[in-house]
Symmetry: D2
C-alpha cells in the first residue's frame, strides 16, 4: 500500500482527496495536517467521512511526512513552495494541487500572485500534471504541479485542434463557468447561498490568474505542432460563477484555418486511448452532472452551419478531474499503479 | 383605465403579465383566455395570484377581446398569426409575445419554425417591440412583435458598438445562458429539477431559432450606422441552460476596429436616457439576481488587457425585460402612459 | 409623505425595507445609517436598488433621525435598545425589527441573548407588532417590536385553535423550516452555497431564541380565550435550514380536545377580514414560492383520517411578512395609511 | 461473480443500481430491461454511465432473466407482482424495489394502490428488506421486498425507542422531507425546476401510501418488545418536498413514558454493530449532504430541555439507503458477500 500524506486537508480539494483515497485499493492515508484544526478528527469537520477516515489533523511534521511515499499539498498558493524542498530532500515525491509550480516563468508567477516565489529553483523540476500531454514525464517526476481547474478544461478542449495546427492562434476564446466549490471553503459574503443561488455572473473579465497558466499550456501545444517557440496564442478568457456545487463547463471558440478538417474525427482519434477523456457523439451537449464526482472530462465539438467557427464544449468536475482526481491519476502514474485505480466510480446522477 | 385582454395566460409569460398588471396603476385585466383551462380561476393555477386576480380563464371569444383596448398574446408560436387579423380589424391593438411576427422574411420564419405562416401579409405591419431602437414606431403601431428573450440581451449589448461602427461585423459571438423558465411550463423530463439543478450545459450549439431574429436586428443596426443594406453580420450564438428560475446572462465578444474608442463612455452615452438600461461602472460584473423580477437590463463592458477584444456582459430577467415586462413597456408607449408605469418595482434580492 | 429613517440597512431585512419602500406611495426614505458602510451609496452594496434608491449610508445621527416621522431598526439585537430611548424622546415613532423588545420578561430575554438589557424600562412600552392580534394597540403605539420570522408563522397558525380553546395546550409541536436569508448577510462557512445547497438539516433542536417569544404569544392567546393567566403552553419547536433564499414553512401539530370542531371553517372565519392572511381551500398545501416577496401568510389545515390530530401548514416570506413587510404593515397602521400601502404586489413566481 | 438482471432500469432507482453495481467487486450486470427504451444503450439515457455500462436495454425475457443469479425490479408498483412468480420458479432470487410486496395485508395494499394484487400468494413469502431488523431472514430469503424511502428513515429512527418500550405508542409523529428524485423520472409540471426550486411545501398531509408500510413496521417492533399483537401505534406522517435532488430528512417526535432513559446511549448501543447506521454525538444535527450517494443512515437524538419529548433526526439518501443501496445491501446478505461490498464509498460532499 502506498502511504499518503496530505498537507492542508481542511479545504474542499483536501476533502476530495480523502473521499477518493478512502476507497483507493492501493493507497492509504497516513498523515493529514492542518495547523488550524490540529487535534480535531477529520470526520468532525466532514461528517461525510465518518466511518471512512479515522485520522485527526496534526501539525505539519517533516518526519511524519517523510515517512510517506507521497505527499499531496492541498494548500493555498505560497505554502507548498516553502515546504516542498525539505520533503523532496527526504526522497519523498510531492504532488502539489496549488498554483505554486504551474508557471515556468517565475516573474509571471510573482506578478499574478503578488508575492516573491520562495523556491524558484524547484520550478524547473516540476512536471505539469496533465496526463493527456505529459504522461511519460509524470511517470518519472518527483514534483508534480497539478493543473488548475479551468486550465484543465481549456487545454483539453483546444489540444486536438492545436496539435492538428488547424486553427487561428490569434483569436481563441474560452468562456468558462465554474461551480462555487472552486472558490474554496472560506467564510465570504460573496459565496453565501443567498448571494450565489438562483443567480449567475461573470467575474474577473479583465484578467484571471488562470490566464497565464492556460496560455503557457496552449503555447506549448502550438510549438510542438510545428509553430515557432515564441508565445503565439492570443486567448480571451472569461470565467463565470455557476449556482452549483461542483462542475466546470467551458465553451471554447476558434476559427478553423483549414475548413476540410473533420473535427469530430480529430477529437475522437486524439482521445481514443485516454481513460478519462470522453468525446461525445456529434451533436451532443455535455452536462456537468454527467461528471459529478467522477474523473471524466467529456467533450463535444460543433461547427455551427458548417462554417469556420469551431465550438468545443468541455465539462469536468472541478474538484475531481479539475483537482484531486487528477492528482490521484498522477499518483497512480508516478507509482506505477493502474491509472484508474480509485477513480473508477461513475458520476453521481441525479 | 386601459382594458387588457390576454390570450393564453397559462404559461410563465402569461403569469408574469398578470403579476405586473395586478399593480399597474392605469391598466386592468378584463379577459384571460385558455382553451385548456377554461372555467378555472387563474388563482387556482397560480396561487401566488390569490387575492390579486379574481378572473377565471375563458375560451377565446372575439367579441370579448374586441371590447379590450389592447390584447396580449402569450401563446406558443403559430397561435397569434391565426387570430391577430380579426382583432386588428376590430380596431384593437395587439402585442404579441410569441415569435410569430418577429422575422420579416417569411421564408426564414417558415424554415426555422417548420410550418407555413398563416398571416404573411401582417408581418410588414408589425413593429419590433424593442423600445431602445424603435420607440417612435412602437408609439404609433397597431401590431407589436415583442423580441425574444435572448435577442433582447444580445441586441442591447451590441447596439452601441454597431451604431458607432467600431467593431468587425464578421466575427461576433454571443455566449448566452438562460434560466429554466425560458423553456416554459411544459411537462418535460429535460426540465425536471433532478435533471437541471446542480448542473449546466449548452444546447442548440449548432443552431437556435433566436439566431435569425438576432442577426436581423444586428444587421439593421449596422445598416443604419452607414453600412450596406446587405446582410453583413456573422454571429455565433451558443445558448446554455442555467439551474435558476429567471435570468439571462449574455457574454458578448467582438473585435474593435478602432482601438481608440472609449467603450465605457460609448455605452453610458447611448443609454443615458433609457429608463430600463443600466450601464454599470467600469470593472463591474452584473449578476442576474440584480434584475430578478424587474424590467432592467444591466450591462458592463470590458476590454481585457486593453486589447482589441471587447467583452460585453448583459443581464435581464427573461420573463420581464425579456418578455412580459418589455411587452408592458410597449403597452405604456403605445397607450401614451408613463413608460415605467407598473414597472417601477426593484428586483427581488436575495 | 412619511419621512422614514432606517438604522442598519446593510443586512437583508434592511435591503427588504428599501425594496418595499422604493415603491411605497406615501413614504420616502430620508436617512439610511450604517457605521461600517458610511459614505457608500446604498446601490453599490445592493445593485438591485440602482435607479431606485439614491441615498448613501451615513453614520447614525440623532438629529437626522429625529427629523424623520418614523425610524426602523434593522440591526442585530442589542443595538436598538441603546438608541431607541433618545429617538422616542424626540417624539419620533420607532419600529424595531430586532429581538430587543419582543419579550416582556427581561430575565428571559437576558438569559437567551446572553447580555444585560440596556433599556428594560422601555420594554413595557413596546407593542408587539402582529397586526392580526394587536391592530388597535399598534395604531396608538410609539414603539413597535416586530415579531420574529418563525414566531409569525407559528402564532398565526395556532391562533384560531387557541382562541377557540379546542386543542390540548400541553403538547404543541412546531416543525419549521427557513430559507438561508434568515441567517442574515454575514460571512460564514455554514451558510456558503456549497454547505447549504442541495442539502437540508435541523438546527437548534434543543433550544432556539424564538421559543420563548412564541410561547409568550401562544400563552397570551390561550389566556384571552379564558384559560388561566399562568404559563400553560408546552411547545416543542424544531427549526430547519432550507436550501432556498426566502421562505418559511411551519408544520404545526396539535391534539383537538373537541372533535366536533370544523377546523377549516374556524380558520376561514378567523381570517376572513385579514388583508394578509389567506386560508387555502380544504386539502391544499401552501408552497413557499406562492408568497415569495409578498406580505401574505398562506395557511392550510388538515385532520389526517379525520382524527384528533390537527396539522396546520403555514408559509410566509421570512423577509417580508416575517420581517420588513410586516414592519411596513405596522407603519401603515400607526401612520393611518391603507394597511396594504406599498404591499400590494403579488409574489414572484416562478 | 454474481450475475445480475435489472427489470425497468430507466428510472432513478434503476440508474442508481447501475451506478453502484458498476464498481461492485463481486457482481456484474448481465441484463437490463425496458420495454420503452428497448435497443437503446443505457449510456445514451444516462451519459454519466458512459465508459461504465456497455449494455443496451432489452425487452424483458424470462430465459435471460433466469440465467441471472439475482433479479432486481426497479419498476412502478404492479409490474413485479406480474413477473416475480415465473422468475422464482426458475430458482432465481428476486429483490423488488417497488411497493408490491411490502405490505402483508393484501386488502390494505389494494386499497392504497387502487388495484387488485396479482400475486397475493407470494406476499407471505416476501421478506421485508430492512437488514437492521431482518438480517437473518434476508439471508435465507428468495423474495425480498425493499422498504420504501420514507419508511426506512422512520423505522430506523423509532426502532431503539420501540424496542426499549419507553415511548407512548399512541402519539408518534414523523415530519419527513424528501428530495425530488423521490418522485421519479416522469415528465410532470409539478417537478419542473421552476416549480420546485427555491421553494418548499408539504404534500399528502391527509394520507400517503407509505403510512401503512411504516405503521406495519412500527407495530412489529412494538409487538416484539412485549406489547400485544394488535395494532397499537398511532402515527401522524407528513411528507414534504425539498428543492434538492437526493436526500430524506425525518424529524420524529415521541413522548417518553420513562424519563430515566438515556436516549443517546440507547441509540448508540442499538446500532453499535450496524455497518450503515451512524449515531452522531449528542447535540448533533445530521445534514442530508453527509450521506449524498452513500448507503449510510445518520441519526441524532435530542430531548429539548431534558423533557419528555424525544426528537429524533434521521437522514439518508433516498436513492441509496432508501432504495438501491439498501437493495444491494440485501443482495450482499442473501449472496453471502461482505455486507458493504460495493457500498464503501463515502458521500459526495460538497
Amino acid at each position: 500500500m502506498i502511504k499518503v500524506g496530505i498537507v492542508g486537508a481542511t479545504g474542499y480539494t483536501g476533502a476530495e482527496l480523502l473521499r477518493l483515497l478512502a476507497v483507493h485499493p492501493e493507497a492509504e492515508v497516513a498523515v493529514i495536517t492542518s495547523r488550524s484544526e490540529k487535534g480535531k478528527p477529520v470526520a468532525d469537520l466532514y461528517p461525510s467521512l465518518r466511518g471512512h477516515i479515522d485520522l485527526a489533523f496534526s501539525d505539519p511534521n517533516l518526519d511524519q511526512l517523510a515517512a510517506c511515499d507521497i505527499v499531496f499539498f492541498a494548500t493555498p498558493h505560497g505554502v507548498a513552495q516553502s515546504m516542498v524542498g525539505h520533503i523532496l530532500q527526504r526522497g519523498v515525491k510531492v504532488i502539489d494541487l496549488s498554483a505554486d509550480f504551474r508557471i515556468r516563468d517565475v516573474q509571471v508567477w510573482e506578478s499574478w500572485y503578488g508575492q516573491p516565489h520562495a523556491a524558484p529553483d524547484l520550478i524547473s523540476r516540476a512536471v505539469y500534471g496533465l496526463p493527456e500531454i505529459n504522461r511519460d514525464a509524470i511517470a518519472s517526476a518527483t514534483l508534480i504541479a497539478c493543473p488548475g481547474c479551468y486550465p484543465t478544461t481549456v487545454q483539453l478542449g483546444f489540444l486536438p485542434l492545436l496539435e492538428a495546427g488547424c486553427i487561428d492562434l490569434n483569436d481563441l476564446i474560452a468562456n468558462s463557468a465554474s461551480g462555487v466549490s472552486g472558490a474554496g471553503r472560506q467564510a465570504s459574503i460573496n459565496n453565501l447561498h443567498t448571494e450565489v443561488s438562483d443567480s449567475f455572473k461573470a467575474y474577473a473579465a479583465s484578467g484571471h490568474r488562470h490566464h497565464p497558466e492556460i496560455v503557457q499550456g496552449l503555447n506549448d501545444m502550438a510549438a510542438l505542432a510545428g509553430g515557432s517557440s515564441q508565445s503565439m496564442v492570443n486567448l480571451t478568457f472569461v470565467p463565470h460563477l455557476l449556482p452549483i456545487n461542483r462542475g466546470i463547463h467551458s465553451t471554447l471558440y476558434a476559427n478553423l484555418t483549414d475548413l476540410s478538417v473533420d473535427v469530430q474525427a480529430l477529437f475522437e482519434a486524439r482521445y481514443a486511448d485516454e481513460p478519462f477523456v470522453d468525446v461525445l457523439p456529434a451533436g451532443s451537449h455535455p452536462q456537468t452532472n454527467s461528471v459529478r464526482g467522477s474523473n471524466y472530462c467529456r467533450i463535444a465539438v460543433h461547427r455551427p452551419n458548417g462554417g469556420a467557427k469551431v465550438v468545443v464544449l468541455v465539462v469536468e468536475d472541478n474538484l475531481t478531474k479539475g483537482a484531486s482526481g487528477q492528482a490521484i491519476q498522477c499518483m497512480n502514474i508516478v507509482c506505477g499503479l493502474a491509472e484508474n485505480a480509485g477513480l473508477a466510480a461513475p458520476a453521481l446522477l441525479p
